[in-house]
Symmetry: C2
Subunit: 157 residues, 2 copies
Amino acid sequence: MYSIGDIANIMGINTSAIRFYDRNGLLPFVQRDKAGRRKFKPEDLNFIEVIDCLKKSGVPVKDIAQFISLCMQGDQTLQERYDYLDDEEEKLSRKIEKMQTQLEFLQYKKWYYKTAIKEGTEDIHFLPNSRMIDPQTRNEFEEKRKATADIHELTDL
Amino acid sequence: MYSIGDIANIMGINTSAIRFYDRNGLLPFVQRDKAGRRKFKPEDLNFIEVIDCLKKSGVPVKDIAQFISLCMQGDQTLQERYDYLDDEEEKLSRKIEKMQTQLEFLQYKKWYYKTAIKEGTEDIHFLPNSRMIDPQTRNEFEEKRKATADIHELTDL
DNA sequence: ATACGACTTAAACTAATGTTTAAGTCAAGA
DNA sequence: TCTTGACTTAAACATTAGTTTAAGTCGTAT
């Protein structure tokens, strides 16, 4: 059996966060000893693992509570649980894709500044007599990206 | 010149969010017409693009404001701006990697429920006389993952 | 026996990120 | 001219996700 402190260590969070999760329906399975202290069973680690994953995936506590509630209702909710996870998988996939797009933009901007530093001024990227970036600049970088095996060769100083 | 409403449309957010960003130092470059209305110059879209990217990357408003502040100081901060973006690129990379790990766990759990549904009970994954998941179960899935070209063949119903 | 550390609660507090409300200004079209 | 829609502000409100505080209860090691 694990104490709240043990679980906090396992999850790498504060005990107060665990109590917050409990208050919000994430831990209906937790038992108490006769002094009222929370006691987590070894099998509860299955729940902890899922909660930890969903938290790290950015799922709101309220939504996770719904999934846990399904789990407490036994085998009759297996399909609903599958559907829930299917949905979250889809959302997380899209999220990762969007993050990847932002990462690529950051890499472009690193190259933008790397080349500006080399010339001592950002002006090299602007259209004549303006501070608008030449629309060709991004294309130029993306061509170089395609031609370069390791992106950091292009972006790192 | 763009109005606050134009920019809100471009970013896909509410005008009140733009005003919030302005209050918090993200838009020091914005000008006003004689009625006091915000007027964004075409070149300001460069800033908007960066702000949008950093926001989508999960960077706090306060941190973005620091970067924008560097931008306002001219070419003397080119190196600092590069360093800032280098740092954010690194953070975002790690974030994406962690998300990927969570995605893989969700896929495992989908397979876990898919197989449970087939048998009509979650019990098939438990050790005898317990509700602890057989430690071999995850390994079994990961072997199948390696042997399968498209993960959804394995996880989808 | 008692002190310490880990636990309990309810309630107040914090921080981040906006949204909503109320009251007012202004330009343009009917 | 008058109305409408888009803008302005400050301030209040909302939500999420906790943390902190205050007061109290245990079990154990000295």
